[in-house]
């Protein structure tokens, strides 16, 4: 094929993609002349090039399209959905012609007369008098003046004008402005200099972007990548040879070569990355077509379009995404009337959100439609023979929802032109799983459906920390690393062991540790105790990884491990470092499983029903297991324990019938777990120390057994004082200890002073920004709150539906799906959470906002802006809100 034609095809395909997006935008913002002029320009270019290349058929279609656009521009035709549909049709026709040309190399024969006729008929119509879509009352005036002005200029002028008080200023400015910058550039016209320069700048910027990118065949890049790898190897050999030599004249040039090679490798690696927005640009058009076809009102919001993905991954998820958005628009969102009837806004929302988190790329597709119809799925699954009545009766909601991923399953009542052909979610899931991703879904009847696609960071570039254990280097994704702690015998931070489990005291917390050497089965460390602890976070779980050395961070391209290694759960992938060496990338998730030893298997078994595990998968808690007074193992959540002391029995004194021990010039009361405890005269006495507000008490136990991780699920509650109940932790039945009981034994006024009824207070943090969630959650956690997070109001209410209880709810105001004000209303209007103190945390903290917040039901309103005082104001707000609610409660009880 002709090079020129090839170039034309590639360019026009790109233009068409832009046209799609822009037209949909334009339909919504019909007064935005800048968009229109861009659309017009693109269409005009296509037409012009067709003429130049001698492609009459294409040219005719483009010309017809341009005609209508011209009439839009000249205000001769109103922008109606029908007109836009026709232009989109023309674009589709051009696209299909292009597709044929790509195969045959020549313009296909045939005629588009019917389409062109339709378009021309519309274009020929008299400007419709009825219902003008243009609300703008200035622009028509300007064009009636008859000046040959570029549309961009018009837009600028209109914008400038509309910023003033419109009706008054228009007559004054009208005679002066628009033509000057174009017609006569010499005298700078006084009233309108800003729009003129702005326009020129915009134009130069635009052409600059056009010139700064070129199309490159992917094979070329792949080939380049291979060559560069060879270059790296050769460079390494040279460096190796140089190392054995004395300084000579090669040294400096070789270093330069080395640097350049690294940069080159980096650059080519980056060439393969593309923003996920590239896979999204078709979606607005699809949703728009659907809204026209179905008469629904749907708004598509997209966040995180700049999140970068490997080109191959991008290709793989493009179709699944399209399909899912289509599903949401077609089946998920109800029509306007029905939405209004159930009290939802008429316009439905489909929110796309992409982000990097804990070593994965997450893509969330959420709609606020009717949710999946559980009953229908149940029915369909049985009817299609996927399961039996008996089996489905025992299934959880999550398990039933999973049926939509089965081949041949479609719940659409009628097959529409857009979806519901039964080839759907199973293909989506297959495609996603092929690149090692997972898809989860949650659905609440009447509130909407959320899909969460998790793509492993394989192929994506991440920043990783390079560490060493037993002379071997490993990479840890930086995303999972919270902090680094250097430990040695001399430093304050020391690794201690409980039974055989290593722990680290970190700011009055005990951090469970895993040694990389022992987890990976490497030989144990030598004499030196100077090591590093990498504090890693997986979900809500924090733990430390002991390594020998820490090098620096490197940007790496994660490659999936060979199939033979996929059963090894410690690695997410492997990569080649800048020096050419191969290095394994650790999976903190797998390591944390190893930290809990037994906890990991439970976690895997529970995954099927865990629902959305986005960022909150760590429902697991670390427990300290101990034995005392015979009977079952006892368990205490590790985070409540501030220290474990092995006291010298001789140092324990008996004062007034109470046992105490002197500790840092204070008397610490000791309470035995069982009242009949036999106090030893000598030897060691194991004691768990609890501290709060500067006061400490010791719980005397017989033996500390282990630290394990598991989820907190009390199966049987207990009538015995001092025990909350029984639970299965890591496969063993244990008694979970009610720490509060013993605290009050030590200090009867413990809780009055600290003003809390339980030691772990539950807070719910609702915020759509992962940044703020990550900022606020630790603040709360450090103030002894156990924090659960939700990304929006709907998610929060879902927790309510699942029976969760909280001592305080802190919510952002502006969130997708359901904002904070709506959430507050929903919370206050339902008895389940109506007593919970409610705190607003928002960046909008004007007088009006605060009032609106209080009116909606918030007890306190905290501004996000003040980072330094955030903790203080939060603490105060929490205290005030709790106190007020308590007072209300008592008042009501008294009356």
């Amino acid at each position: 094929m002709d090079d020129l034609l090839q170039e034309f095809l590639a360019e026009t395909t790109e233009s068409l993609a832009v046209l799609d997006v822009e037209l949909v935008r334009f339909e919504r913002e019909t007064s935005d002349a800048a968009i229109l002029s861009n659309i017009f320009r693109l269409m005009h270019t296509i037409k012009g090039t067709c003429g130049f290349l001698g492609l009459p058929r294409l040219g005719a279609v483009a010309h017809a399209g341009e005609n209508i656009l011209g009439k839009f521009r000249d205000r001769e035709l109103d922008v109606t959905p029908r007109a836009v549909t026709l232009i989109l049709k023309a674009i589709d026709q051009i696209r299909s012609l292009l597709a044929e040309m790509e195969v045959t190399g020549a313009e296909p024969t045939g005629s588009d007369d019917s389409l062109i006729g339709e378009i021309n008929a519309l274009a020929g119509e008299e400007p419709a008098a009825a219902e003008p879509v243009f609300a703008d009352h200035i622009v028509p005036n300007l064009s009636e003046g008859g000046f040959p002005v570029a549309a961009e200029l018009l837009a600028e002028v209109a914008e400038a004008l509309s910023q003033e008080s419109i009706s008054q200023s228009v007559p004054a400015i009208l005679p002066e402005p628009p033509p000057a910058p174009v017609a006569d550039p010499a005298p700078a016209p006084a009233p309108e200099p800003v729009p003129a320069t702005a326009t020129r700048e915009a134009e130069t910027k635009e052409s600059a972007t056009a010139a700064s990118s070129i199309r490159v065949n992917v094979d070329v890049i792949e080939n380049l990548m291979t060559l560069i790898s060879e270059l790296v190897l050769t460079r390494n050999q040279l460096l190796q040879m140089q190392r054995g030599q004395k300084d000579n004249e090669f040294k400096v040039p070789l270093q330069r070569l080395s640097h350049i090679t690294s940069d080159l490798q980096d650059g080519v690696t980056r060439m393969r990355m593309q923003p996920i927005g590239n896979a999204w640009n078709k979606l607005p058009r699809i949703v728009r077509d659907l809204t026209v076809a179905t008469g629904k009102k749907i708004e598509l919001t997209m966040q995180g379009a700049e999140t970068e993905l490997d080109r191959q991954v991008l290709e793989m998820i493009k179709d699944p995404l399209t399909h899912m958005v289509r599903n949401s628009a077609d089946h998920g969102i109800e029509d306007g009337a029905r939405r209004l009837a159930v009290g939802k806004p008429e316009t439905g929302t489909i929110a796309l959100n992409a982000y990097h988190e804990s070593g994965h790329i997450f893509i969330r597709i959420a709609d606020d439609g009717r949710g999946l119809d559980l009953e229908r799925i149940r029915h369909k699954a049985v009817a299609n023979g996927l399961t039996t009545e008996a089996a489905i009766a025992t299934m959880s909601e999550q398990q039933i929802l999973q049926f939509i991923f089965r081949p041949g399953f479609s719940t659409a009542e009628k097959v529409t032109s857009v979806s519901g052909r039964g080839v759907g979610m199973d293909v989506v899931r297959t495609n996603i799983e092929r690149i090692g991703g997972t898809i989860e879904l949650s659905s609440v009847a009447g509130r909407g459906t959320t899909f969460l696609i998790k793509i492993p960071l394989t192929l994506a570039i991440v920043s990783a920390l390079i560490v060493e254990a037993a002379q071997q280097r490993f990479a840890i994704p930086q995303l999972n690393v919270v902090e680094l702690v250097g430990v040695s015998d001399r430093s304050e931070a020391r690794i201690e062991t409980i039974n055989t489990s290593p722990v680290l005291r970190l700011r009055d917390r005990l951090l469970p540790l895993v040694s990389l050497r022992s987890v990976l089965g490497l030989p144990p460390g030598g004499a030196s105790n100077d090591r590093f602890v990498i504090v890693a976070q997986v979900g809500a779980q924090t733990f430390g990884i002991i390594v020998d050395r820490v090098f620096d961070t490197e940007e790496i391209v994660v490659k999936p491990v060979a199939p033979i290694l996929r059963g090894t759960r410690f690695y997410v992938g492997n990569t080649i470092l800048g020096d050419g060496s191969v290095i394994m990338i650790l999976d903190p998730n797998g390591l944390s499983g190893a930290a809990g030893q037994i906890g990991a298997t439970d976690a895997q078994a529970g995954q099927g029903e865990a629902g959305l595990s986005d960022g909150q998968s760590g429902e697991q808690t670390s427990f300290l297991l101990f034995r005392t007074g015979g009977g079952e193992l006892k368990a205490i959540p590790l985070e409540l324990v501030s220290r474990i002391e092995s006291l010298d029995a001789a140092s324990i004194e008996n004062v007034g019938g109470r046992h105490v021990v002197q500790y840092r010039q204070h008397l610490v009361p000791l309470v035995p777990f069982c009242p009949a405890h036999h106090w030893k005269e000598s030897g060691k006495q194991e004691t768990l120390v609890f501290s709060d507000n500067g006061r400490s008490m010791g719980l005397v136990v017989d033996e500390v057994v282990d630290i394990v991780r598991d989820r907190m699920a009390i199966e049987l509650s207990s009538a015995r004082p001092g025990l909350l109940g029984s639970a299965i932790i890591s496969g063993k039945a244990v008694d979970v200890v009610d720490v509060g009981h013993f605290l009050t034994q030590a200090f009867t006024d413990w809780f009055e002073i600290t003003a809390m009824r339980k030691l772990t207070r539950q807070a719910l943090l609702v915020d759509d920004s992962p940044f703020f969630r990550n900022l606020v959650a630790p603040l709360l956690a450090s103030a002894n709150w156990k924090v659960t997070v939700a990304a929006d109001g709907l998610e929060a209410l879902r927790l309510r539906d699942h029976g969760h209880q909280f001592d305080v709810i802190i919510s952002d105001i502006e969130m997708p799906n359901m904002d904070g004000l709506a959430l507050a209303g929903a919370i206050r209007s339902d008895p389940r959470w109506s007593q919970v103190p409610l705190i607003a945390l928002s960046s909008r903290a004007g007088e009006d906002d605060v009032q609106a917040g209080h009116k909606a039901g918030f007890d306190e309103y905290v501004a996000k802006s003040d980072q330094a005082h955030l903790q203080e104001s939060l603490t105060r707000a929490v205290r005030q809100a709790s106190a007020r609610n308590q007072a209300h409660y008592e008042l009501r009880r008294a009356s």
């Binding site: 990548m225 291979t226 089965g521 060979a562 290694l565 059963g567 759960r569 690695y571 060496s581 394994m584």
Partner: protein, 158 residues
């Protein structure tokens, strides 16, 4: 002109003979079909994979690709080599993934007529019988022809 140059040309017709790359592991002669071999190399830097399956000796960087090194002694349940003893690698491809077989030494490319071929002896160890395709009687002794895909179908469930 990038076309691959055939590795070995013999007077015999292709139909009644097979070409193998030969190598030895613990004194035993093995062969893999020459058409499956991508590369022969002496590895200088094998990155181990702690926690991985025992057959996996590690990973190497083969011109920018990460290739898994399979320790043939472990895989064939043969005694471990003396430590520090170097070996050679035969890179093969299976189901789109590259693996390289770590062996004691690599021999010649040989073309063996079909009439020297015999089925696996019935007494052959179960592990070997699964990986071996046939046995050839050669001048250097018996050559065990390996089946590349079965050889690399290693159970990965941890």
């Amino acid at each position: 002109m990038n076309a691959d140059i055939p590795v070995s040309q013999t007077s015999r017709s292709e139909d009644d003979a097979d070409a193998f790359v030969t190598f030895t592991v613990a004194g035993q002669l093995f062969g893999v079909p020459v058409t499956r071999v991508q590369d022969i190399l002496i590895p200088d830097d094998i990155a181990p994979v702690p926690g991985g399956p025992p057959e996996v000796r590690g990973l190497i960087n083969l011109r920018g690709r990460i290739v898994t090194v399979i320790d043939m002694r472990t895989h064939l349940s043969l005694p471990k080599a003396d430590t520090g003893k170097s070996g050679m690698c035969v890179t093969v491809e299976s189901h789109g993934e590259s693996y390289t077989l770590f062996v004691d030494s690599v021999g010649d490319v040989v073309t063996l007529p079909r009439n020297l071929r015999e089925g696996n002896p019935a007494t052959l160890d179960q592990v070997w019988r699964n990986m071996a395709n046939a046995v050839y009687r050669t001048d250097q002794g018996l050559l065990v022809a390996l089946h590349v895909d079965r050889l690399l179908a290693i159970e990965t469930e941890a």
